[in-house]
Structures are given as structure tokens and as C-alpha cells.
């Protein structure tokens, strides 16, 4: 009994806390897809997912932000209905919007890296606004770059067709989400876990 117990390798307290937040944020993204609005100008729907991808990078940082989104993708892949329109399965990961989905962890990592400048978390409310905006724009470019390129390849669309269908119709919405993300992190009500 004693040896058994000594071989238990406890997860460190800070890691547990970050991990719990990452999992909870992933669940929150899944819950947010109750907002799935067909976009009349695009084959992809309007969702709030990107808002939470921004928040993952800003609040959880360059390590736990992407982990959160990997958890999200894994949960969807194994059948929890967390993708747009409550879809699930690995199908959506290879479907028309699959490029967007794969881009989320990468975008969160980039946003986290730019804002936190490394793995020690800073309070995003205290980071200069241009840096935050720059980070969000970079993240957005990654999301649309991957989303559009994958759709173009998968559905055999010409570049301009893919851009017209998968990027342009969302730009106004994306600007709103950036502003919302900045308002949220500057509200001072979310404290990052300092380790």
C-alpha cells in the first residue's frame, strides 16, 4: 500500500489550476455555438468561437491557450457536440470549415506569445493597446488564412472565390469580436493565474 502511494505523481497545483481553466474555456466555446447564424454571403456560419480564441490567447497565454483549443477540438472529434450547429465527430475537422478549426490553437498560441512575450503570464489589461490589437489582428490573419486556404483546396475553389466566400463576409463581425475581447480583458474582472 505504502509503495503504491509513493509512486503516485501528483499534478502540481498551478498546473491543475491552469488546466481546469483551459478545460472550462474549451467547454465555454462549445457552449457558445448555440449562436450559429447562417451567413447569407458565405458557406460558413457566423459564430462566437473566434471571440473565445482571442480570449484563450489573451488570458491563458501561449501554452494553456492552445491547450484549451486542442481540448476543444479533441472533444468535438470524439463526439461531444461542440462545433458550429452542435455538430460533432472528426468529419467537421476535415469539412468545409475544418481549416478554421485547425487554426484556432495556432492563433491562440500566437496571440499569447505576442501579448505575454513568453510563458510567464502578464495581466493583459496592463499590456499596451497597440500590442493587443496587433496580436488579435495577427491571430485573425492566421484563422482566415488557414480557413480560406483549406476550403479552397478542399472544395476546388479559385483563390478569389474562396476569399469572397470564406473571409470577406466575416470582417465586420471580426472587428466587433476584437473590440469585445479587449473590453473583456480590460474590465479587470479576470485575473490570470500567476505561477
Amino acid at each position: 500500500m505504502a509503495t503504491e502511494r509513493n509512486s503516485v505523481d501528483l499534478v502540481d497545483g498551478d498546473v491543475v489550476r491552469q488546466f481546469a481553466r483551459a478545460a472550462m474555456l474549451a467547454a465555454l466555446i462549445g457552449a457558445s455555438v448555440f449562436v450559429t447564424i447562417p451567413n447569407p454571403f458565405s458557406p460558413a456560419p457566423i459564430t462566437l468561437q473566434v471571440l473565445f480564441v482571442f480570449l484563450a490567447g489573451l488570458v491563458l497565454g501561449p501554452v494553456w491557450g492552445p491547450i484549451s483549443l486542442l481540448l476543444y477540438l479533441t472533444a468535438g472529434a470524439v463526439g461531444i457536440p461542440v462545433f458550429s450547429g452542435f455538430e460533432a465527430g472528426i468529419g467537421p475537422l476535415f469539412g468545409a470549415t475544418g481549416g478554421y478549426l485547425w487554426s484556432y490553437p495556432i492563433a491562440a498560441a500566437v496571440i499569447g506569445l505576442v501579448v505575454h512575450r513568453g510563458t510567464d503570464l502578464r495581466d493583459p489589461a496592463a499590456v499596451a493597446l497597440p500590442i493587443v490589437v496587433g496580436a488579435l489582428v495577427a491571430g485573425t490573419i492566421i484563422i482566415y488564412g488557414m480557413g480560406t486556404a483549406y476550403a479552397a483546396w478542399l472544395l476546388e475553389l479559385a483563390a478569389w472565390e474562396a476569399i469572397a466566400g470564406f473571409a470577406l463576409p466575416f470582417i465586420p463581425g471580426e472587428i466587433l469580436k476584437m473590440v469585445a475581447a479587449i473590453v473583456i480583458v480590460r474590465s479587470g474582472r479576470i485575473e490570470p493565474v500567476q505561477s
Binding site: 503504491e4 502511494r5 509513493n6 509512486s7 503516485v8 501528483l10
Partner: protein
């Protein structure tokens, strides 16, 4: 044995525990009473290192908690005041199994413990039900089962009876009684001594972060006035 040696603790400079000393012997059934905000929950969280004393020391079986977190956490089972956000799995069975799994036990052993723990809280046979479909009291019971399944050497319970109906409360109480009889130390926080006084070996009362009473039940009763704790009405 769980031992508090002059423990003090403050949240953001506000002192919440002040020089608390306290011993829970193996097999002792200790009831911790006190008004809202008197520091009961804060005290309990020191038993397994969820909080760490600013000064003083907490020892579990003679080892300082801070020195061996694993020992403290695997020997002190804890039931939180609000079970609700603390379930880690979607179904009853998976949640109760979480602790034993982390201890690395054999699967058969885990199953046996889960069954026994659910039995003790009158929830046997409901392993596959989802947690959020349970009523409030049923959730409290599953939370208790989660701690019992770790078969800890000491159990710490933070107001475990809130929301439990009469048979469930009696079943849990009798389980705690037999655990204590078998040598498990029990520390139970409550506002309401009416139901537990008969079982208690000692009543510890807190006020404003200090231990102000630490006596066997009969003598404690005389000293509890003004401490905002319910006591059995004399009839």
C-alpha cells in the same frame, strides 16, 4: 492524527485564522461549530494543503502537510461545502472512481470501493446517471461518496448534511460513526449541533478565527451561548 500547531492565516491581509491549535486523534469524532465567516472552511482546507498556513504548522500523522502533499491528500478525504462545481466526471460512477484511480489502484479494487461508497450514501445502482440530472441533495450525497471511496485515514467534511433528507443524513451519520469506531479520525463542520452531538467525542467552536471552545459535548454545551450555533433545545 491531524494536528494544528498555532496556525494563522490571512486572506489579503485580513486575518481569518488566529493562532489555532487543535488535535484530531485517530478514531476521534470532532465537530467544528461556529457562525458564518468564523473560519471553519478555511481551517478545514489546511488539512490537506489546499491552503498553507502563514505561520504555525499542520501535521498529518506527524508529517507537516507542506512537506508531503501526497501523503496528506491521500490520507485526508475531504467533502467540500458546495459539491456542485466539484464533480470532475459526467456520471456518478466515473466521478466517485476519480480519487481511487489517481491512487493507482487495481480496477477491481476501484469498483469495490465505488460500490461501497455509493451504498453508504443510499445511491447504490445509480452509477450511470449524469450528475446534472440529480437533485441538490443527491449531488451532496455523491460528493460524500467521492471522499469515502478514497478510504482515507481521516475524513474532513464541510457541512455535509445541508440538503440531505432524513434517511440520507442518518445513513451518512451511521457510516461516519462506524468509520470513527474503526479508527478513522472525523472532523465535521456544522452550524447545527442538534444531530451530531450524540456522536461527537469533542466539540470545537470557532469565533472570529479563534478556537474558543474545545471540550467534550456536555461541557461544550455550557460554553456555546453567544457563538451563534444551534444546540439541542432542552426539553
Amino acid at each position: 492524527m491531524i494536528e494544528f500547531q498555532s496556525v494563522s492565516y490571512a486572506f489579503d491581509e485580513v486575518p481569518v485564522l488566529r493562532d489555532v491549535s487543535l488535535t484530531i486523534d485517530d478514531g476521534a469524532f470532532v465537530v467544528l461549530a461556529g457562525a458564518n465567516g468564523s473560519g471553519k472552511t478555511t481551517l478545514l482546507r489546511h488539512c490537506n494543503g489546499l491552503l498553507t498556513a502563514d505561520s504555525g504548522e499542520v501535521l498529518v500523522d506527524d508529517t507537516p502537510v507542506a512537506e508531503n502533499l501526497l501523503a496528506a491528500r491521500s490520507t485526508v478525504g475531504m467533502v467540500f461545502q458546495h459539491p456542485r462545481d466539484q464533480f470532475v466526471a459526467a456520471t456518478i460512477g466515473a466521478d466517485v472512481a476519480f480519487g481511487p484511480e489517481n491512487l493507482g489502484l487495481e480496477r477491481a479494487d476501484i469498483d469495490r470501493r465505488v460500490d461501497a461508497a455509493l451504498e453508504a450514501v443510499n445511491m447504490a445502482g445509480r452509477e450511470t446517471e449524469r450528475i446534472e440530472t440529480l437533485s441538490g441533495g443527491e449531488q451532496s450525497r455523491v460528493a460524500i461518496a467521492g471522499a469515502l471511496a478514497m478510504e482515507p485515514a481521516h475524513v474532513v467534511l464541510d457541512e455535509p448534511f445541508t440538503g440531505l433528507d432524513d434517511p440520507a443524513r442518518r445513513s451518512v451519520l451511521s457510516r461516519l460513526e462506524s468509520l470513527a469506531a474503526d479508527g478513522t479520525g472525523v472532523l465535521l463542520a456544522t452550524h447545527d449541533l442538534r444531530d451530531v452531538l450524540g456522536l461527537a467525542d469533542r466539540v470545537v467552536a470557532m469565533q472570529d478565527g479563534r478556537v474558543v471552545v474545545d471540550e467534550p459535548p456536555e461541557r461544550a454545551l455550557e460554553q456555546l451561548t453567544g457563538l451563534e450555533v444551534r444546540v439541542p433545545t432542552e426539553c
